[in-house]
């Protein structure tokens, strides 16, 4: 309290400049230090990814020789090898199709639930859904496999979409709840006064306002679905393989085709990188949803 009153005195500016003493040279040194540290962080985060990109354009002979990392003739044969396998385009499609279906369906189910749980403060119900985020997935896989195999669904898209929805519903619920929490309740009350029914107020007023939240939840969900490996490893068949599982086609006991693996890794990472580039703001707000409210 006393501190704040200092600030309000007219000469607080002067005080500040007297007390915070780091001189011009000290400040400059700090700025340079900071710039160098930022550069170091960038290098640590980017160089490995660049190495993956570079290796995808190297012959396996060039990959085996790390002593001359930058002198090589870029070749496309790794990508050719990957796509020469006709099924690979199918795997790309599978990844997209499963992710898009799972994202749309989980938003369709998760958004109304998020609205209700935020509006009526249903903390226990929210906790039940978030349990899906906590439970080890493997404990679900054996029973799921058993049931879905009996239904004849294993190896089809429906199992993959259902299992991904299971991961994505808690994600979109968490994000959308914190989004609905931030919308003023007065808006809804005004809509009710104007004669809308409560569900009408949700559908016509709150839902259009929550488009940024839907974009956040949708984009983050897409990334989680695209990147998912464990459920796909067990539940996909030869026709429904997704990209993270398909990379293992290039690994065998005898040899590892590093060129093809790096090309396949680039193929599966590029779409996500593009999403990150254009939707960075949404990814950040999705990651930090609820975190800053404490």
């Amino acid at each position: 309290m006393t501190v704040t009153s200092h600030r309000d005195t007219p000469n607080s500016e002067q005080r500040a400049s007297v007390i915070s003493k780091p001189g011009r040279s000290g400040k400059r040194a700090f700025m340079i230090f900071r710039a160098i540290m930022i550069a170091v962080v960038i290098i640590i985060f980017v160089v490995p990814l660049l190495w993956m990109l570079m290796s995808s354009f190297k012959s396996n002979v060039a990959i085996q020789d790390p002593t001359h990392p930058f002198s090589f003739t870029p070749i496309l044969s790794n990508y050719h090898d990957v796509f020469q396998n006709d099924a690979y385009l199918k795997f790309v499609f599978n990844s997209f199709w499963i992710a898009i279906c799972a994202v749309v369906l989980s938003l369709l189910i998760g958004t109304p639930a998020a609205y209700a749980m935020s509006r009526f403060n249903m903390q226990k119900s929210a906790l039940v859904v978030l349990l899906a985020r906590i439970i080890p997935g493997i404990s679900l896989l054996v029973p799921w496999y058993y049931v879905f195999a009996n239904l004849g669904w294993v190896g089809g898209y429906s199992v993959m979409i259902l299992s991904h929805m299971f991961i994505l519903i808690p994600v979109s619920l968490y994000i959308m709840m914190s989004f609905f929490d931030s919308l003023p309740i007065e808006l809804e009350e005004a809509a009710l006064v104007d004669g809308l029914t409560p569900i009408g107020a949700f559908a016509r007023i709150m839902l259009p306002l929550s488009v940024p939240g839907l974009a956040t939840a949708g984009i983050l969900s897409f990334i989680f679905s695209w990147n998912n490996f464990m459920f796909a490893l067990v539940l996909t068949g030869a026709n429904t393989k997704t990209l993270p599982v398909a990379v293992f086609d290039f690994v065998s006991y005898a040899s590892i085709d590093w060129g093809a693996i790096m090309a396949a890794s680039i193929v599966m990472t590029i779409p996500i990188m593009i999403v990150a580039l254009f939707a960075q703001r949404y990814i950040v707000s999705g990651l930090t949803a609820g975190a800053t409210k404490g």
Partner: protein, 310 residues
């Protein structure tokens, strides 16, 4: 149907109007139930099934007959110092190591990027990349970079006169190397959460402390850090849940069983191996139940520490 009729207070309403009125009146559960029912169906049956299987000697094909053995599987797991307890140890070493390093590094990166600077937007996108990249691709990439013979890491170390390291090739170095890769992958996520927390801090408290003569370290230690505590705990919770269950990285680098000496076998990998390599569903289920209880205990402790000190 009975409820619909009971609820209607207006005579002569059409059935559609009655239904609409009922839906509006009970919107809380109408809107929430699809997500709840989906989750309960997808979780409820498997949990019951897993608990049941954990009390049996189910083995081999999912359809072959099995019988009830009581708590035998739990006893087997809890007295198994060969696979089970080392896996518990590795789970905690991996999670603890990764969590501590990610918090420290994440805090460093967040503080570095906090105050505005040139090209801030571009640099924040770059920081995001390791986290959004597909974990399997990231693991493959590090397998190549850290390969003892053809990897770039040892080549770089040789430039500064450090001898080649075994990385994943030695059972002793595997776990620390895996922690290192996990730190590379998830520090960005921690940094971004903390950065949002830092940006939301009221500026005037920091300012006031500075006017009162507090140095940068004092201001960080006694002003910023306590204010950031709730956000820090959210980051710890989110990371703890995922780190305990790490699968993609460990499986891609070492495969089922966690390598020839099980050097990368955490509880999650052990449960996977028991289920899908050995088809020992009974024991796998017992391990999974114990694992789930461990996760709940860790989260419970975190939640309690969050409540008591704030």
């Amino acid at each position: 149907m009975a409820t619909v009729v009971l609820d209607s207070k207006v005579d002569g309403e059409t059935l559609g109007a009655q239904l609409w009125r009922w839906t509006n009146k009970h919107r809380k559960w109408v809107l929430a139930s699809p997500a709840l029912i989906f989750t309960i169906v997808m979780i409820g049956f498997p949990i019951g099934w897993t608990i049941y299987l954990s009390l049996t000697n189910a083995y081999g094909s999912v359809r072959s007959p099995f019988s009830f053995v009581g708590l035998h599987n739990y006893a087997t797991a809890l007295t198994d110092t060969d696979r089970f307890w080392p896996a518990v140890g590795r789970t905690f070493i991996f999670t603890g190591g990764a969590l501590i390093l990610e918090l420290a590094a994440g805090m460093g990166v967040a503080l570095l990027l906090w105050r505005p600077f040139k090209a801030q937007g571009a640099i924040r996108v770059i920081v995001l990349l390791p986290f959004v990249a597909t974990p399997v691709a990231v693991a493959m990439m590090w397998r190549l970079i850290l390969d003892p013979n053809i990897g770039f890491a040892n080549e770089m170390l040789s430039w500064i006169g450090i001898g080649p390291q075994p990385w994943f090739a030695s059972s002793f170095a595997t776990l620390p190397t895996l922690i290192m890769v996990d730190v590379w992958e998830f520090t960005p996520m921690v940094a971004i959460v903390l950065l949002a927390g830092l940006s939301a801090l009221p500026n005037d408290i920091d300012e006031a402390a500075r006017i009162d003569g507090a140095g940068p370290w004092q201001r960080f230690r006694f002003v910023t850090l306590p204010l950031l505590r709730p956000v820090l705990l959210v980051a710890v919770m989110l990371r703890a849940i995922d780190a305990l269950k790490t699968f993609d990285l460990l499986y891609t680098v070492k495969g089922p069983g966690g390598g020839s000496f099980h050097e990368a076998e955490t509880l999650n990998i052990y449960a996977y191996t028991l289920s899908f390599q050995y088809n020992n569903f009974g024991l796998a289920s017992a391990v999974l139940i114990i694992f789930f209880v461990i996760i709940l205990i860790v989260l419970g402790l975190l939640a309690v520490s969050r409540r008591t000190k704030s």
